[in-house]
Symmetry: C2
Subunit: 186 residues, 2 copies
């Protein structure tokens, strides 16, 4: 079912895919899909989480020394994108750029499942966390966009280690560095 | 004519495409293309559906002191997005994320009309320019994605000056700082 869901979401986007179509492709009854995943949204999140379940890859990031957390984040994101889940993640990004609701879904997912856990693991003031997380997300998302979607060289072809060496320090700076954070009241 | 132009620019890049070739593909006289679009640049801007002409907003960026070029780039991008052209730019980004050919067009546009001119105005070695430009693009594109598309707070609501203060130093670092650049052979 998840494989069929990923294919459907990758080919047709969130709005174009249907539980009925996915069930047919998987050779099961639509009621079974509803039983396991509830709504299409639930199925979508499950399909998206499957190629890179944060519970699988986050512990490694969180185990990195605090001053190497930035490089660990970049390395983790590149490994997920270079892995077999790329087409499903790309479908997620496409949906998010095209549809307000998908954008909300992705934002919720990235915020609650990834950013808050990475930033929350660091010794930074609570009121700085949201801004630091958003800045990290801006750099990481842009890197993904340039390397995998627009395929801008040399980012598109460079080995992962070189990309980590170039961008990791920026993410580290946003995580723990001396940044003029937006949205502060002081 | 525009369809032929899009195909040509996407396949051969800005430098490789010619008005003569585009006119032939469209089955019209080159003089007609010149009549409607003036130069190749005019045709390119129309093909990309660029919401603004870089010649209008780039001079201000290029006039900023070299050590404030990063902040100038971020400020310029935010002004364009906060202006009346936002929906047109968003359409451009959506198209690029959805279609390989649009992605190539946007990449050509951003590369030849913006990045190369900003990076080319700086005193950095020629062989570093492509990588520095790509890194700048990654940060700026991600910022746009988070602020205007995913609407991640506090980036979505923060005043432009605060965003420039937070992200400008990163862009400056990529432009002129001590970065381990990807794609180098040394």
């Amino acid at each position: 079912m998840l494989a069929a869901a990923r294919a459907a979401f990758a080919e047709r986007g969130y709005d174009g895919a249907s539980i009925r179509g996915i069930a047919t492709a998987a050779g099961v009854d639509p009621a079974l899909v509803h039983h396991y995943f509830g709504t299409k949204e639930g199925l979508f999140l499950a399909a998206v989480e499957a190629p890179g379940d944060p519970d699988e890859f986050l512990p490694e990031v969180l185990a990195a020394p605090p001053d190497q957390r930035g490089a660990a984040v970049v390395g983790m994101v590149l490994r997920v994108w270079d892995g077999p889940g790329r087409s499903a993640v790309l479908a997620l990004v496409r949906s998010a750029v095209n549809h307000e609701r998908s954008a909300r879904l992705l934002r919720e997912f990235v915020l609650t499942k990834i950013i808050r856990r990475v930033v929350g693991s660091l010794d930074v003031p609570r009121e700085e966390r949201e801004a630091r997380g958003a800045l990290v997300a801006s750099q990481v998302a842009g890197l993904v966009l340039m390397r995998y979607v627009l395929k801008l060289e040399p980012l598109a072809s460079a080995p992962r280690e070189e990309v980590v060496a170039a961008v990791g320090p920026t993410v580290q700076h946003y995580l723990t560095g001396d940044v003029l954070l937006p949205g502060r009241r002081d």
